[in-house]
C-alpha cells in the first residue's frame, strides 16, 4: 500500500510546490517532519520500554489470567483464530485495557507486542492476518472511557465545562467501533469465500 501512496504524495507535493512557488515552505517542511519523527521516536523509546517491561511482569503473574477471563467473550468473538495462543490473547487484553482507559502511549507498545506475537503464527508472513487487521481496526477506532488529551486541551482554552464532551464521545466512538468491527468481519468472510472459489 505505502509503496504506491508514498511516492504519489511526494511527487504531487514537490511538483505542486514548484508550480505554485511554495518551495521555501516545502524546504522547511521537510526538515521539520524529520525532526518531528526523531522527537516522537525518542519519546516512544521511553514509554515503549516501560510498558514492554510492565507487560512482561504481568505475563508472569496471575493478574493476566484474571484480566483475560474478564475479556474472554469479547476476544473470542473478535479474534476466533487465536483460540490456542495464550500469549497473543494476553497482549491483546492489555492493549484493550490501555485503550479503554485512554492510555494512548501505553496502548501502542502493547499493541505492537501483540502484532509481533501474531506474526509468529501468521501463515503468510508478507500479509496481515485476519486477527492483525481486527487489532489494527480496534486501535484506530480508539474506544475509550476518558478522552484525556482533548479534555486537557479544552480546559487549557478556558472551557466552562471541559468534560461535557465525554458522553457524545462515547456514542461516537462506540458507533465507530461497531462500524469498524462489522466491516472487518464482513470483509474477512467475503475474502475467505473468494479465496476458496
Amino acid at each position: 500500500m505505502l509503496n504506491l501512496i508514498w511516492p504519489i504524495f511526494i511527487i504531487i507535493s514537490f511538483s505542486y510546490a514548484i508550480f505554485s512557488g511554495n518551495l521555501q515552505n516545502l524546504n522547511s517542511g521537510i526538515f521539520e517532519s524529520v525532526d518531528n519523527a526523531v522527537n516522537l521516536s525518542i519519546t516512544m523509546l521511553g514509554t515503549m520500554c516501560l510498558w514492554s517491561g510492565i507487560i512482561n511482569i504481568a505475563n508472569n503473574t496471575r493478574i493476566i489470567q484474571i484480566i483475560n477471563k474478564m475479556l474472554k467473550p469479547i476476544i473470542k468473538f473478535l479474534f476466533p483464530e487465536i483460540k490456542n495462543n495464550k500469549k497473543a490473547q494476553n497482549e491483546i487484553s492489555m492493549n484493550m485495557i490501555a485503550n479503554i482507559l485512554g492510555l494512548g502511549n501505553a496502548a501502542t507498545p502493547l499493541g505492537l507486542k501483540a502484532m509481533e506475537t501474531l506474526q509468529e503464527e501468521n501463515n503468510n508472513k508478507e500479509e496481515l492476518s485476519n486477527s492483525m487487521i481486527m487489532l489494527i481496526v480496534l486501535n484506530t477506532a480508539s474506544i475509550q472511557i476518558i478522552p484525556t488529551t482533548i479534555i486537557a486541551i479544552r480546559s487549557s482554552l478556558g472551557s466552562e465545562n471541559p468534560t461535557s464532551i465525554i458522553f457524545p464521545v462515547w456514542i461516537a466512538t462506540i458507533c465507530a467501533g461497531i462500524a469498524g468491527i462489522t466491516i472487518t468481519k464482513l470483509l474477512i468472510k467475503y475474502v475467505n469465500k473468494r479465496e476458496r472459489l
Binding site: S13, L45, I63
Partner: protein, 180 residues
Amino acid sequence: MIEFINFVSNLAMPLIIFIIVIYGFIEKKEVFDKFIEGAKDGIKIVINIFPTLIGLFLAIGVLRSSGVIDIVIRLIDPILRLINFPSELMPLAILRPISGSSSIAIATDIMKNFGVDSQIGIMASVIMGATETTLYTIAVYSSSVKIKKTRFVLIAALTADIVGIITSVVVCRFLSQSFS
C-alpha cells in the same frame, strides 16, 4: 466533576503499574529481571518502526507545507456540503486520519476561533476524542512486523473513522437541539 475526572485519569496509569508490580512481588517473581527482559523488546520495536516514522512524517509534511492539502480540502468541500456537514470542520475531518499533530493544531485553532463551548468547538472536540490517526496507526503496526501487504485494513479503518466523524456531528446537533 472535572476534578474527579482529572483524578481518575491521573490515577489510571500509576494504578496499573502498581497492581502489576504488587502481584509480581506477592507471587515472588523476579520482578526486576522480568521488567528488564521486557524493556529490551521495547527497544527492538522502536528501532523497527523508526524508518517508517521518518518516511511517513516526510510524506505528510511535504503534503501539508506544499499546500496540496488545501487543494484537496477545496475539492471535497462540495461533497460534504451536500450531506450538510459543517464546512468549518472540514480541514479537521480530512487531516484527522492522516496526521495526529496537525489535527490537534487544527482542532485547537477551531476551538479558539469559534469558542471552546460553541457548537462547532464541541463538535471538533468530540471528533478528536472519538477518532484516531488511522494512517499512522496502520503504518506503525504493519511495519513493526515488516508487512507490506495490508489487505483491506485501510478500508475498514477509514469506514470506522467516517462513521465516527459523522456520528460526532449528528450527536452534537441532536444534544444542542434537545437542550435549547
